[in-house]
Symmetry: C2
Amino acid sequence: MQKLRLFTPGPTMVSPEAMLEMAQPLDHHRTSGFRETLKECTGLLSYAFQTETQPLVLTGSGTAAMEAAILGCCRPDTKTLVCHSGKFSERWRDILVRFNLPHVEYRLEYGQGFKADQVDAKFKEHPDLKAVIFVHSETSTCALSDAEGIARVCRDRGALCLVDGITSIGTIPFKMDAWGVDIAVTGSQKALMLPPGLGLVAVSERAWEVVDSHQAPAYYTDIKAYRKSLEKWDPPYTPNNQMVRGLVFTLKQIKEEGLENVWAKTARLAKATRAAVAALGLELFAADPVDSVTGIRVPAGVDEPRWRKTMRGKYGVHCAGGQGSMKGQMIRLNHMGYVDEVDTVGAIAAMEWTLAEQGYKFEMGAGTAAFGSAIAAE
Amino acid sequence: MQKLRLFTPGPTMVSPEAMLEMAQPLDHHRTSGFRETLKECTGLLSYAFQTETQPLVLTGSGTAAMEAAILGCCRPDTKTLVCHSGKFSERWRDILVRFNLPHVEYRLEYGQGFKADQVDAKFKEHPDLKAVIFVHSETSTCALSDAEGIARVCRDRGALCLVDGITSIGTIPFKMDAWGVDIAVTGSQKALMLPPGLGLVAVSERAWEVVDSHQAPAYYTDIKAYRKSLEKWDPPYTPNNQMVRGLVFTLKQIKEEGLENVWAKTARLAKATRAAVAALGLELFAADPVDSVTGIRVPAGVDEPRWRKTMRGKYGVHCAGGQGSMKGQMIRLNHMGYVDEVDTVGAIAAMEWTLAEQGYKFEMGAGTAAFGSAIAAE
């Protein structure tokens, strides 16, 4: 009977309606019906990415989509800047290393976001950079980088701009075409409100030129093969067509709501959560906090595994912990997708009750009150 | 109101029960609950593959799983034999070509299966072969290769044996350990009775030695990363955990039924279908027909697209056509997974009715009668 609320920054909560949509009878993927579905999905993805290009659908994790982007756009004879300040940017660095792709690693302390002038300074040091990779919303540290500014620097410097938008697209402002982003990537299990299983990649005309200028050391993640699938809406390998059906369903919900309204909701939840954090005497993990997910430092005297375990076990509120070296140092509360004010105030209440259980000193109800005041002030 | 019956050799029919299992509330994948699920899934997969090893679960198509197998086991400094007599073996050849992996291509006419002595003869020509790739059940031609015999040759010759078991595992006899197969691969959308979205790879101890002897030119499809996930049941990248849940459900059904009974059912349906084909004066496409799926040559005077279109449009029976150069030459009727005698006799009836519509001469009912007699004789 216990209700589970996923407050993890992916997978996020999936609505019963979306689940039932994907439980509808399965059809084959080489049919006019599926071609229509894929075409519709692609059009809706263009809206979510804010682009005139046609995003590609890969069956796989976000990592598969990001690998596809990197192998297509980072040539073995050119140099890429990889901005690294968290577990996900570390993964993109690892892909460059694995495929022996020349790169410069730019490290910042975990919790910091990258700014345009910092990236521009790297171009002064390395004028031969041909691509920049960064994570817009670094899910592991809950930090925001300046995607618009960095994309502008890339344009000015004649380099491709590759954005991990896995926890930004469809949740905080992201405008692929207006900002001049070249590759943007997301996954199904974040703002798109589905289980994990699909990776999405949008590619600019400039990026296609680079992709077409060489043969990527890839087969399954070769984006050229997926582009061909846009001609007749026939994917190169058997796609998870049931999830594409689900994606049409959730993308339609996003379009109906309007991206600006979705962005505003995320911002509202994040702002109110930060107010609650302050009222409880807690601290944010990130120096540059992002709105998609809030990372809260575990206060002294509180045992993190026990805190999260009690929250889930007693109240069905599942928050994420820290990853890698950040393990035990923070909990993360999601604001993406199918989550609202009522859900979130409940999560904050559960956080308070379980903090009290560990003897942490604060005024009971201060968090939910601050959350409510912030919402009311909007 | 029209009922759809998927007789395509993948995706095959999915039961409403399995669909609803995957429509249950989503949980996170870094939980003790999912670890238990993945562990249970792995144990059940060992049964399906008939192996003591622990098969790996990749989020992706069968192609991703096969790429993982090839990149792990076919070293850049050793030579692989790739047996090619259909669209899928052509794809494995293409992967070897894409990654510049040294190989010898052994082509047979489409419709033929590979025999042990033929493969052994190739070892005489090329004693330096270190691996053999073949498709056990070539879905595109509906032909069977002698997996047991070829695996024995590989053992004798000290080469690894890589089997595409995508339409054989869980549907016709396949015994990984007893036969000495080194890598076996399948997908979720065939005998495992789920939508597409998961690729499964089982790896022998001998194969792991080769995998460990070099770094594969892979990241997302690097099987080493997935092996690590068996230690703590933590997959390297966000998995489609909802489909893993579905897979436990369908694998339990297979185990309860018993693999031998599943194999016998497939054989029964295939035998009875072949009897119907003969009674209708039709011909099989394959010289070495496999039981997983029957490929029937389109008779002279019958328009294949119209035939299949009418079958689906009028009777909800969706057969597959020919792929690539076989387009227009055959239709394919699936016997894998969630399909039985009653479904299949209905499909044969629909085939008769739609053949009659195109003026093909035969005795109406001869196909269903022959099908019924064959079933009754079992």
